[in-house]
Amino acid sequence: MKKKSLILLMFIPFLAGCTKTEELYADYAYKSSNFMENYYTEHNGVDQLKVASTNSFNLHENYGYNSTNSLKYVRPEDNPEGYPWSESVENYSNEYGRHNNLTSIDSSFAYGYLSKLYDGRVRCEGKYELSRVQLDRGGYATFFPKKLNNYRLFAFSLRGATDYYKDNLPTPFGNSTGKVPCKIDINIKFYKHILNSDQYDVVDLKLSDVEIPADAGGSTNLVTVYLAEDNDDGTRTLLYSPITETVAMSFDFTLKNDIPGLSDDSKAESDHHFAVMLYEVLFPKSTWR
């Protein structure tokens, strides 16, 4: 018996999980010159979670629109700290990401493929595919390494991209000024674990008609989301409770532009494909536990 225990003890290091080898990739993974091979479609088990309830909130850039749930996306003029998502990239600097990224807030965000979304690179910054995650309409989902304790705002930077270049065709979206505005509906879900159960409450945020640059090189837009509630006296109270305690999130979208031969579904047979290039997910000044 003693010998068996000793042998078991000796093997503890090997049974510990080998954390560094859990998420490994081939060197060329998501770095292919073939646009279709770079889609990140993982949902990391989040789509398998048991959902107890879903609270959906429709947010729109026009303040007051669809205020059924008294939750609003706060427009720039109400948001002195944040940045307008519908304005051009020049309106926010790379410093914003460097000072607010999740890895610098908590180093547990540093590991894994999705660390690209937490490293503070809100644009290409010369890192190309190393700075972004390419998504189709199904998007992605992931658990956070820790639970969100509190935060000030939620933000993400992104742009659109197509594979028209492979046929040497002009893109329908043009350059950063945009011949045709690229519009997407974004659906973001936050998952909150219900104590002493295996179920989760979901907060579903829907952002409609979000305009982003597409095929515009290093240009991105930063979407900042404050959740607010109007008071009877005309004042507004920012709400944090809908997202705090979050342990996981998902992101998906739908391309609103109806362009023949262009699909936002990477699995669909189509001449050309569209992707959202997600550069960063930010919870500035948040704490995690």
Partner: protein, 482 residues
């Protein structure tokens, strides 16, 4: 009964400090070099004080022959312009680097001449520190990466950290002070390899005669070898095999006149080849015609241009030969439009010889060559004439051979995988300090074969060297050791 002098009474404290220093430097403690550098200096002063009366006139020449070039080299490597681009290398660090090189050499010299210090304890502490850091780091590596992970994951071994792509194929876990860091296998392999160099001692120690030493050296060496094998680190394995061959040679052929003659000629030939290589490497970077000739001959091109070491090495040699870089390659100031590029600053050559040129310039390298020449002479004399036990000699021999070979092909200036700013200069590396200690330790007085009083004191039982000195083991009584 005559009262003991202050020196005699408190020498054991000096000895204890020396052992402590060796164990801590071996363990590394997160590479807090500045502390070790200044601690080394203070302990060198203390050790020299206690050992001072045991230095003789005969010591002077061999110490100066080895020490003076080392001293000159340390000036160039410590106060070089090269460090100007690293903010952490302030004047305190430069002085620390200079003091440390001299101090560890001096500690080695004094350690041999301190009567209270037993060779065995020196090796225990040195090996113990190395083995402990190797053991802890290896267990962490096993738990985080598994066994043989470079082989298992060779087709898909990349991972993302902070948005950047890294490979686990070249890294391992390391106890870096009080935290765990990812380091290059080349760096971690240094400690494992040096630890494994204690295994050849078993060629000279019989288990029945000295169980403790046998088990201790077997454990130290075994931990190092298992660490190397369990990753596996092929470069360290090859170097260990070569160093072990040197140990076997010493074990079985050191009394064979023909073998020693062949060895002598081989060393001469190797030194000649090294001299020619250095000459052509300099020519290749200073005379355009010579460069074109070398580049056009594929064999020479392979040696002097198209290999991992020389791709970086040539840039360093070329920069070091410029007149404004003679006191170390200038990394922050333009000279006629020339500046050593950031890429070149951050790229490791992998070879400590090239790194010495990078750190101290061409003069530092020339003084280093002189130092190597006299250190080699001192080492050869030590192996031939010292009355130290053979297991001591073979550990030191294997240690130095392995260190030189491994550092020639695997020295990393940025060993921390996720940090581009943690620069580890060769001449400020802890393993280099340990080798300097050993070089100091093996220097014997010229003209005398050994310090007689010391031998009498150390050997509690007479050894019959003529009968079977391979297995002679002179023990030290408990009263005489710390």
């Amino acid at each position: 009964m005559a009262s003991k002098s202050f020196r005699e009474e408190y020498e054991s404290i000096g000895g204890f400090l020396v052992l402590e220093l060796l164990a801590l430097v071996g363990f590394g403690l997160g590479g807090v070099n500045l502390i070790f550098q200044y601690a080394g200096f203070i302990i060198a002063l203390i050790a020299t004080f206690f050992a001072f009366k045991n230095f003789t006139k005969e010591d002077l020449k061999p110490i100066l022959f080895v020490g003076v070039p080392l001293f000159l080299m340390s000036i160039f490597t410590s106060f070089s312009h090269y460090y100007d681009c690293f903010l952490s290398f302030n004047i305190l660090a430069k002085i620390g680097s200079f003091l440390a090189i001299i101090s560890f050499f001096a500690v080695g010299l004094s350690a041999r001449r301190m009567q209270s210090l037993s060779y065995k304890k020196v090796l225990y502490c040195l090996g113990g520190g190395l083995a402990l850091i190797t053991l802890i780091s290896t267990i962490i590596t096993w738990s985080q990466y598994g066994l043989f992970y470079p082989l298992i994951h060779k087709n898909a071994g990349s991972y993302y950290y902070d948005g950047n792509l890294y490979s686990i194929l070249n890294e391992m876990a390391w106890l870096n002070g009080f935290k765990i860091s990812e380091v290059s296998q080349n760096y971690g392999g240094t400690f494992a390899l040096l630890s494994a160099c204690f295994l050849p001692a078993l060629l000279f120690i019989k288990f029945k005669e000295d169980k403790i030493s046998f088990l201790f050296f077997a454990a130290i060496g075994g931990i190092g070898l298992i660490s190397i094998l369990s990753i596996p680190n092929f470069y360290a394995l090859i170097v260990f095999a070569i160093a072990f061959l040197a140990a076997l040679f010493y074990r079985f052929l050191r009394n064979n006149a023909l073998a020693m003659k062949i060895l002598g000629y081989s060393v001469l030939v190797a030194a000649g080849i090294a001299a020619v290589l250095i000459f052509f490497a300099i020519l290749n970077n200073s005379v355009k015609g010579a460069h074109d000739t070398i580049a056009s001959a594929s064999f020479l091109d392979r040696i002097f241009n198209s290999n991992k070491i020389m791709l970086v090495g040539n840039k360093i040699i070329e920069a070091a030969l410029k007149p404004f870089n003679l006191f170390g390659i200038n990394t922050v100031q333009y000279h006629d439009g020339y500046i050593f590029s950031k890429t070149d600053i951050l790229t490791s050559s992998g070879s400590f010889e090239i790194e010495i040129i990078r750190e101290g310039g061409i003069f530092a390298f020339l003084f280093f060559l002189v130092f190597v020449f006299f250190a080699y002479e001192a080492f050869a004399r030590y192996l031939k004439t010292s009355k130290d036990d053979n297991y001591v000699k073979v550990i030191l021999l294997t240690f130095v051979v392995a260190f030189v070979l491994y550092s020639t092909i695997c020295y990393e200036i940025f060993p921390l995988t996720h940090s581009e700013t943690s620069y580890y200069p060769f001449t400020q590396s802890l393993s280099f300090y340990l080798v300097l200690f050993i070089i100091g330790f093996i220097i014997l007085p010229k003209g005398k074969e050994e310090i007689e009083f010391k031998e009498i004191k150390r050997d509690s039982k007479p050894t019959n060297k003529n009968a079977d000195d391979d297995y002679s083991f002179s023990d030290v009584t408990e009263e005489e050791i710390i």
